[in-house]
Structure formats: structure tokens, C-alpha cells
Subunit: 499 residues, 2 copies
Amino acid sequence: MSGRPGRIKSNRKIRYPTTDYEKIFHPRTLAIVGVSAEESGVGFGTGMLKSIMAMGFEGKIYPVNPKGGNISGMEIFKRVEDIPEKIDFAVIAVTARHVPDALEACRKKGAVGAEILSSGFGEIGTEEGKALEKQLQQTAARGIRVIGPNCFGIYCPASGLTMLPGPDLSRISGPVAFLAQSGGMAIDLAHAGNYLGIRFSKMVSFGNGADLRESELLHYLADDPETQVISMYIEGIKDGEAFFLAIKEAASKKPVIVFKGGLSIAGQRSVASHTASMGGSRVIWQSILKQAGAVQVHDSEELAQANLAFSLLPKRSFNSISIIGGGGAIGVTACDTAEQYGIDVPPLPARLQDRIGNYLPKPGSSAINPVDVANPYVSPQNLKEVLLTAAEDQRIELQILDSLLYHYKPLAKMFGKPITEITPYKELARAVRDVVDQTGKPAIAVLPNPRRGSDDMDIMELVALTRQEYVHLGIPVFDELHDAIRAIDHINTYYGGRK
Amino acid sequence: MSGRPGRIKSNRKIRYPTTDYEKIFHPRTLAIVGVSAEESGVGFGTGMLKSIMAMGFEGKIYPVNPKGGNISGMEIFKRVEDIPEKIDFAVIAVTARHVPDALEACRKKGAVGAEILSSGFGEIGTEEGKALEKQLQQTAARGIRVIGPNCFGIYCPASGLTMLPGPDLSRISGPVAFLAQSGGMAIDLAHAGNYLGIRFSKMVSFGNGADLRESELLHYLADDPETQVISMYIEGIKDGEAFFLAIKEAASKKPVIVFKGGLSIAGQRSVASHTASMGGSRVIWQSILKQAGAVQVHDSEELAQANLAFSLLPKRSFNSISIIGGGGAIGVTACDTAEQYGIDVPPLPARLQDRIGNYLPKPGSSAINPVDVANPYVSPQNLKEVLLTAAEDQRIELQILDSLLYHYKPLAKMFGKPITEITPYKELARAVRDVVDQTGKPAIAVLPNPRRGSDDMDIMELVALTRQEYVHLGIPVFDELHDAIRAIDHINTYYGGRK
């Protein structure tokens, strides 16, 4: 592929095999092939067994190792064939050359699918590796869906399936599905989701994607009622047309966020050794994703932030916003950033400015929009009144409150109390939630923190606790104004484009 | 101004008044006009007095308040005139309408300059405010330099002068000067510098800039031997040509980093109420700064990161780098980012790849460049060998090591020990320092952390401690690869443009 593609047309109808995804994401019986024979053993199989148990998976688990024995109070079966009932799904974590037999055994045992954690296939570039991957595909064609190989597996909070190395992921389900050609990115997003308040329906790390991969999973998620937002990290695709059609279909039903890695020459080289797929040029990808109606992001932070915004904000665009914060320069920067993204920060009418001014210290404050609250100690009650008043401007569709909580540290010191005690962060989050409820207009909190040294752990804890309060109340929180505004822009791109 | 300017030519010679800056930044005698009469009083004057004392300022301090009395064991003088000796410098923090008299009194008392913390001047837009500011300028013209009004003052680690509200800023001097039309941005950068390892020579928050402001201060810093890097946040300038010439002069001698706020319509409106200056369009500013040889940044994080890179890395450009890290997707993203900034990530020669491979786990690792170390537990000793080997490639001019330290948490849990105990972070920093010393090639550490909830305070502490180790050894640390690569790009823009 080279040059910028014109408008893409395709009448191709893609038919995917009928797959009982219910048994893949919510298995009742699960084989883990490749646990260690001793309790103290390490390795992916044992790690996964312990992680799935720690997650409280309710189904039946059957560990498998040729040596037999016991692990975590369970009998280890010597062969998959010895398992006394049919299995729904399997985790396979044996050496690459033993994987094809294990997979075939699971198929015969009735498994609808298997995730293969083992590496040593196409991605290592040897003839042997490629041949082994081919064998997996042949077995898959006989009727078992393969996730992987060279992957971290499936995370499904509702069923308690978790990916490597995730014994401590959340069991709370939510609207976001994530498909990842990188296990590391998946586990990082799962952890980030935990504190950011992104809740997941399903995550699939599909590694080399020998069988079940991006396009087919997109097709499935497009109609999955548990999923409201689809996001993905992909490095290369096997069938460009199918991928385009799958995104287009999914994006016509729900937001699709795509982080495409390997847009550069060096990146493509890196992709080849990572997941053995082919990349594609920057401009082509940009065009394909835009035409398909997807939202493109460029790093894992931007991906997480877009997920956060799409999952916690109402399903519409926000073209006109208010920004309330402490410090004039922050307001200036916010405006500059908003303009770059085509978002309006309209000056409030004089009568609203007058009323807002009553709740702010003088001199130093400014009620125009951005509203500069002049100092960081303005009470949650007053900030609530400011937000309620600004929302009276019909044009305002969303409000951002930027709080410089670290300024409470000198105050806490002066009063000899911990910063977490002296800062009214719970009241602050409550006030913002009340404003959202009373006005029907969504709000975003921004909590910047330039103090992150080991002697400022108390500030970091305060920020974490404040974020937690907001997140519990359903208010998205960003570290920086720029992040918040860029996330709004992604929302506008998606919903604006659908008008 | 409108449209994009052509090449700017100017033969204008600007003459600035001779100013004894030594007495401004390193005063031996200091008046603080406007402390509260009671010990328990608050307010800018008292805050500044206590902050300067907490900083260990070695000069003589003379507090002033018409009521007299005592504060912190010092006699309060009722009038500036009563101070028993000549003063070098003054802090003025009285109500706006009393400021002109106080300033004149300080001038008569021999002060070379005064910082005026009070607001209520030009920035409030009233006739009275503007008239008061005019009066300050008239007094200044009679021979006292004014910093402010509506500012946070001067921070000079060497002398112990500090800005509002900064009792806890570092006393360690370093190469970076910062000029700020926003006090909040200055104090934030001072705090960020503390943990990032940016050391300052001088910081000046000049607020409305009634007298001493951006161009003249640039002219001074261009030849200040204590300053190696000049950075600034400006919202508007009073004399465009003088500013252009001052930047051009300074940038011919040392890096000048400029964060220009108020590039948008709304931002300019916000600028007007913040510091009463005029902004200018995005394209014009971009062109002016480029022609003047300055490096332009767009938010306070990027500003801090550029300062960090310029102050800790050698004075040259880095066009070809190696990236060593855990997780294939990180390498892919790094390449994509590097390409966007025109930085090369060349594949290492096969003989070096072979040797690097010996130090890495298999399968899963890749020694090409980016080097994917496959898992986050590779020892500092092995990482050192990898870095030493990669540096043998003559093309490599700088190395980046990306460490996913948060993966030590499950390991720490398994061994029942604190993460800060089980993670070899001191050895890691030491290893990187050794590599830099042995190879003569600089290195950057990247410490991403997707786990920042209140139940992951231990990970946050680990990251803070690891950063501290690196910083003590003179290695710059960034949160994200993208930040590191963008900072390198700024360096390349500056030194590349001077070839």
C-alpha cells in the first residue's frame, strides 16, 4: 500500500463461523493445561490458575499436567482426555511444540475455544514456529476457536476470567471492550481502568491472532449488549478489507477507538518481531480509520482517556464548554487548547458574571469564562454556586473544574494536620455531582499535580482519594486539562460525524 | 497583526537602563512592607516574611507595618523611612492604593528594586487601577526597578529569596532561569523542578510587568553566568520588536524555551483579565519564535520536560537513539513516536543483536532496536550489559531505558515483602549511570505507571524513589516515552538549527 487511498468501497460480505461466545467468555468448565506439578511451581499455567482462583471464578477448574498430583487442593489430571466431563474453554500454557496436541485434545473434549499463552510460534520467525502456528489454524478449522498464541488471554469481570498477570483486576463489569494485539497494553489498561473508573465488559489479548482476531471480534462486539464502547490496540491486520468493514459496522452502532501501532518504518520492524504482522503507513491508516468512522488515538494514555470519556459522558458532542479553575494562566492555556480542538469557551453574559463574582475572592478572580477562582481555597459550596450559575448559559454543554489541591499542603502544615484531613475533597466531588444532577449538564474534574516527589506522598494520596470520590460518583477525572479537552474532541469527532 | 510574517529584519538597538541585578537577586538588606501587625496574621507580606525565613535567607530583614510591634522576634518598623540603614531590595504587599508611596519610600531608602505582590492595578481594568500602575512606572523611572505588580516575586535559591507561596522550595542552585507572567505557573514549576531534578538559577514572576519584564530580563539572563538555560511563560508583550531581538540575542548564547499563552481568541480574552497584556495569533507567534531561534512549548508539562532535558543532557543534538524496554508494544509506540519527530531508531548490527540476546530471556525478547527485554524482571546487571552493547553501535547517540516497575507488585506480594524492598531500583539507577560514564553517551530513564489508585500508593512511592535515585545521579527521568522523545526533539530543534 502506498499513497493516500480514495474513498473506500466494498460490497464484500464477510461470513464468520458461528461461535458460542458465551462459553468462551463465561465458561462453566475450564481446563488449564500446563500447570506445574508442584504447588510452589511458577509458570504461566500455574500463574493463571492462581489468578483465576483469586478472582473468584465460579466455574469448575481442571488443572492438567502429565505428572499428575495436586495443586491448590485440586486434583491435577494427567491428560485432557482424563477430565471427567465436557469442557467449555481451555487455557493452554505448555511449550510451543506440545500446544497443537493439547489444543486438539481440548477440541475433542468439547471446548468451544482455547487461549494459548505460550509463545514460540510465528512471532519468532523460524520455520518451526510458523509450522506450529499453521497447525493451530488447522485444528481451529476443525471447530475450536483459538485466542493467541503468544497472548495474555481473556479478562471478563463478570465471569472471573482474568489475563496474565492479573490476580487483582476488578470484578466490576462495565461498558468498555478492549481488543489487544499486545498483552502488556491490555493488562496496563485493566489496571489503569481500576483507578480511572473505566469498567470493562470484555478484554481479549489475542497476540499473534492465529484464528480469532480483530475483525471477527469487532463483528461480535458490535452486537454484544454488554459492550457500549469498543477500543483496540492493533499492530497489523491480516485482511484489510474485512477490517475496514468490521470497523464500519461496529462504529455505526457504538464508538470504536483504535490505537494503531507500527505506523513508522522502525515501528513496523518492531511489529514483525512482536506479533508477526504487517503494519502500514501513517497516512493510509489515518484515512482508513476516518472513513470507517473510528476514533484514532496515538498512545496508551490517550487510549485510556478516550475510554474514560466515552464511557462516563453522555452520548453526544460538546461544542461549547465552561472552564472553572484556579490560576489565570491555566484558564489561558485551556482556551488555547480548546481552540486548537475547535471547542468554544464562550464568555458568559454579564448578568451571570456578576452573580459568579459574588462567590469569588477579589481582587484576582475573573468570572468571564474561563472562570479564574483566584485562589485554591474557594469552598466547595461556592464552587457549586459558580458551576450552577455558569450552567444557566444555554450554550454551555459541559463544565470542567480544575482543582489545584496541592496548594492545601502549606495550609495543612500551618494547621498541623494531614492534608487529607484539611482538604474538603469529599464535599468537592459531592458538589460537582449535585451540579450535574441539578443542571443535567455533564462535568469533568481535572486534578493536576506538579508535586510528585517522595516527600509529597501525602499530596499523591490526596489526589488518589479525590479521584476515587469523583469516580464513585460517576465524574470522569483527568490529570491535565489538555487530556480532558482532547478526550472531548474524540467524542465530538465520533458523535459530530454521525449528525 | 495578521497573516504570517516574512523574514523579520531589525537594526534597532535597544538600550536598557543600567541595573544592579546583584542587589535584586542577592540582597543583603531586605524590607518587607505590609506584614501583619500580629504574629498570627495572614496575608502576602507575612507569608513572604515567614517563607523567606524558612528558606534561611542570610541577609537582614526589615518588616514594616504602620502599627509597629514585633513579628517572629523582629521589630516591625512603622515606616520604611525608619529602617536604620540603606536597603537593597523590598517586598511590597500593601493595598494597591498604598503601593506608590511605599515604592517611593523604598527608592529613597536606596533600594535598587522592589517586587510588588499586591494586585488591583492594570489587570482589573478600572481607571483607578490603570492610574496606579502608571504611578509605579513614574516612580520606577526615577531609579527603582519594579517587579510586578500582581506577581509572586523572585525565587533565587542561592540567596534564599523565594516566591509566594514557597517556604519549601529548594536552596540548590542550577542552570535554569524561568521568567513568568504567571505566578502560579512559576511556583508549580519550582515544585515540579524539585522532584524532576530541574535546578534553578533565578525565577522571576513579573505579573503585569509594569517596569522590568520579559525583554529586559532576557537581555540580562543572556549574559548571566549562573544561567545556562532560559525558559519563560509569557502571555503578551509590550514591544514585539524588542522581544524578538532579546530572544534572538539570548538564543544565540543559550537555549531559550518559550511557552506563549493566549494564542486563541478566548485565550487572549483571558490574558487581558489576567495580566492586562495583548496576545497575538498562533501562526505569528510560531514564526517569530522560530526565527528568533527559540524552542516553543505548549503546556506546563512540556515546559518542565524541556527544561529537564536541556539542563541534564549534553549540549548537542541526538538524531539516532536506542530504546530498551519491556513489552513489545512499547517499542512499537516508541518507534512511531520517534519517526514523527524525525529521530532514527536504527536496527542494531547482527553481531550486537546476538550478544544482547545472551542477556535476555527467550522466547519473547527481541534485540533489534527497540530492544524488547520481554519481561520486567531482567536484572540491572543484564540491562547494563544490554546498554553497553547497544552503545557500541557508533550511530547511537543517546539511549532510553523504559522500566515497568509496577510489575514488581505481584512479585512483592508473592514474597510477602514491600515492593520498595524487592525492586532493585538503586542498582538500576547505578547501572545506567555506569553505562553513561563508560560509554560517554547520555541516557534517559522512563518510568510509566498505570497504577495510581489509593491502593497502589506503594507503587507510586517506588516510582518516586527510583526517580530520586536517577536524579541524584544526573539521569533525567520522564513519565512516558512520548514525553522523553518530544524533549529530545526540542533539543534537536535548538542545536540542530545552530549547526
